[in-house]
Symmetry: C2
Subunit: 206 residues, 2 copies
Amino acid sequence: MDSNIMQWRRVGTAMVVTGPSGAGKSTVCKPVLTSEPDLHFAVSCTTRTPRPGEQNGVEYFFLSQDEFKTRIQANAFFEYAEVHGHFYGTPRNEVEPFLAEGRDVLLDIDVQGARQFRQRIAGTAAGQAAVFVFIAPPSLAILEQRLRSRQTESEASLQRRLADARDEMTAWREYDYLVVNDQAETATEQLHAILIASRCRICQWE
Amino acid sequence: MDSNIMQWRRVGTAMVVTGPSGAGKSTVCKPVLTSEPDLHFAVSCTTRTPRPGEQNGVEYFFLSQDEFKTRIQANAFFEYAEVHGHFYGTPRNEVEPFLAEGRDVLLDIDVQGARQFRQRIAGTAAGQAAVFVFIAPPSLAILEQRLRSRQTESEASLQRRLADARDEMTAWREYDYLVVNDQAETATEQLHAILIASRCRICQWE
């Protein structure tokens, strides 16, 4: 070991935040991004239409189906998945260049996408340094309440989300960390702590 | 999985903080203990004489050599080691009853002791939930400056500590986390984050 620890190089962490729709992933991620200006938020691509207030390049890159498929062919995505009839994907250039320069990257992706992401980076240095966080609602009953109070979708769509959530929640043991989003403030503090702690992991140093 | 996550039981975390003498283990641990009133500090036993201000049962239990050896025979220690001519040991009853009721325990122990502690709990539920944190000075030169500024010991004793520190620092890859104690405030924040994050690890839930 070099006796001057301060000269060691730290590998960038990819922090993958996932969980069922309605668990509050983006609510929990936003304050962490605000308090960590150096943390890069990997903007995903999607074929769904923007919700009011969403801006292209901020929450998502909004693409047509054709454009999305062209990018799949060009191997531009780290992972992509079809969820509730829309495509979602993580562009490589939102992840790889940042990790390469030792910056941390936050990814807010669906459960299928997270699973693919893990497979893609398994065995690489970035894979060893990645952390997978599952954001869960306190219970499915509470998730249902939350989805209903949004009043943004039909009963059929809501039932589909709940059925998916039930499936997705059985997969929680695949992850490194579980954050139960009961109180958003506590959940945010936990996610932030996971990021800070991940930077101290021995495997991050080389 | 039970759909009501709030009913799951969390296993207590043993957070073992170690590192060379003079790295600032207790300086970094104290504020974490203050901000986490439920975190139990496992008070070690030692045969060294108390320093000014140290109280029996607070920093250490101060024992005679005979009493220490009696307790070794009675299997009262989780681990013990002889360091710089004095015995140090972690009493089982400062650790096991707390973990059993799901409380987290902070151990501030020397490098030899930490190694023994890990061997003892390997393969148990407590072992899976334990985290090992190495507190390092930014460099050996800075460690030397710090030890000299304390002015509490002879040159020979100081040289022995430095030689030990050099050895101990080669062992850092044995640990889960590395906290470089450059600024105490940052190091404390990191140790606290490691505790909060450790509570969210999937392996803590059953």
